[in-house]
């Protein structure tokens, strides 16, 4: 119970900070909207070739926007030694990770919730698809990406060129999640049911579980000198 209230305190603090400076959401959102508009000019909406590229475009948008948000997640924490203040609190560092993952998933999902309808309209997408399945894939993909991204953002925050270091560390490791998520998104957009993509869903759940558990256990060592 004590742990839960501490996790909740970190989440509330991060949301309050974001509400004040809006650095994470605004950078992710602006980037996402620019990507949607540019790709909308490049590809012909409704075209059969375009439909094949849409899942890839969507996940490129999600991971690059997510990378921007994750970079800020710990960058902001380092100002005035905030991260040391947090580490000095009587809480296992692994629970700080849980709080940070929840916040990062929330920020990424919020940006997706705003961007996706615009994406849908601009790319003239069909409304006759399995939306719950798409939402499930988006959630699982985002969770996997945020699970790895949260630990790498903490690691890269210790380096001098953290903005460069984060994508270099993060993208290769998150390839399985992004592949599984974009493949299943493509099948859902092609009209497949949840049962038909169950293999990809299981793979995403597996990756999420492995990443979450491994990062939870390893987070303690991220702050070691």
């Amino acid at each position: 119970m004590e742990i839960l209230s501490q996790i909740f305190a970190i989440i509330r603090k991060d949301l309050l900070m974001e509400l004040r400076d809006k650095q994470v959401i605004s950078s992710m959102l602006v980037f996402s909207l620019i990507v949607v508009v540019i790709f909308n000019f490049v590809f012909e909406p409704g075209d059969s070739q375009t439909k094949l590229t849409i899942p890839g475009v969507l996940w490129v948008l999600i991971i690059f926007a997510g990378n921007l948000g994750l970079a800020r997640s710990f960058g902001r924490e380092r100002e005035q030694g905030g991260i040391q203040g947090l580490i000095l609190c009587p809480i296992d560092k692994s629970y700080i990770y849980i709080a940070k993952v929840i916040v990062n998933i929330f920020f990424m999902m919020l940006v997706e919730a705003i961007t996706l309808p615009i994406f849908w309209v601009l790319f003239d997408m069909s409304p006759d698809i399995n939306f719950p399945a798409l939402l499930l894939v988006l959630f699982l993909g985002t969770t996997g990406f945020a699970a790895v991204g949260t630990i790498f953002s903490a690691i890269s925050a210790h380096t001098k060129s953290s903005e460069v270091m984060l994508p270099i560390l993060l993208f290769p490791v998150s390839v399985p999640v992004v592949l599984a998520a974009s493949k299943s998104t493509a099948k859902i957009l092609a009209g497949s049911s949840l049962g038909e993509i169950s293999g990809w869903i299981k793979m995403l759940i597996g990756f999420d579980a492995v990443f979450l558990i491994a990062c939870f256990l390893l987070y303690e060592y991220v702050f070691e000198e």
């Binding site: 004590e2 209230s5 501490q6 909740f8 305190a9 970190i10 509330r12 603090k13 309050l16 900070m17 004040r20 400076d21 902001r76 100002e79 005035q80 030694g81 905030g82 040391q84 203040g85 947090l86 580490i87 000095l88 609190c89 009587p90 809480i91 296992d92 070691e224 000198e225």
Partner: protein
């Protein structure tokens, strides 16, 4: 009580601390002196569980730092030249956050008392980002003593403070010493340490070169030992 035995810290081939052993009794006000790079901050970071020693041991109130880091964090208060505050939050919000992390009961009442004590009650709703350095350090001290720690570790807390702010901070530290809190102050202000602490630890190139009562050593002797 703070006790270290053969404390050593290496950064690669560089030895930041070498075989540092000392004992600070409960309620004692000890000053850790040394020139820049002597290892003061490294020592405070190890004592405060922010860093691990390469070898040797640290015990805080009898608890081994290696095995009881979470328990130790409950009984220590740490203040350094970084404020550990969130600039996007107000003074009160910062303290509420830390009060939640330390599970402090009746936090609103206690935070109000603390803010009044450090002279920031009128500014409690202001964001820390607009605070002066002195105000941030006063709030930082309020954060450090929020959970009523038994040991206070202070690493250069007076850096960048004007005379008035430094005076207020001194009063607040002395008040805690009177309340029986063990204080370790890392500083390069020799005169301040001599006048306020009752114990002097001299650190030179990572080695504890002197451990004596403040009354048993003159300012000139301290200066000579550190510079020669």
């Amino acid at each position: 009580m703070i006790r270290t035995e053969g404390l050593t810290k290496n950064f690669g081939f560089k030895k930041a601390l070498s075989q540092v052993s000392f004992k600070i009794k409960e309620g004692e006000y000890a000053a850790l002196l040394g020139v820049n790079g002597a290892g003061k901050t490294t020592l405070v970071r190890i004592l405060s569980t922010l860093s691990r020693a390469s070898c040797g041991g640290v015990w805080m109130n009898g608890l081994d730092v290696k095995k009881n880091s979470i328990k130790i964090r409950k009984i220590i208060g740490v203040m350094s030249h970084s404020s550990f505050l969130y600039p996007q939050l107000s003074a009160e919000e910062n303290l509420i956050f830390y009060a939640d992390m330390y599970r402090i009961p009746d936090k609103r009442h206690y935070i109000a008392q603390l803010l009044k004590r450090v002279g920031l009650w009128e500014r409690r709703y202001d964001l820390v980002s607009i605070f002066s350095r002195g105000m941030q350090q006063r709030l930082s001290l309020a954060r450090a003593i929020l959970h009523q720690p038994k040991i206070l570790l202070l690493d250069e807390p007076f850096t960048g403070l004007d005379v008035h702010a430094a005076g207020l901070l001194t009063d607040l530290i002395n008040e805690n010493v009177k309340n029986g809190i063990t204080v370790l102050l890392a500083t390069h202000d020799l005169e301040y340490a001599k006048n306020h602490a009752n114990r002097i630890l001299l650190l030179k190139n990572g080695i504890l070169s002197q451990d004596t009562a403040a009354s048993a050593i003159s300012l000139e002797q301290i200066t000579n030992k550190l510079t020669n």
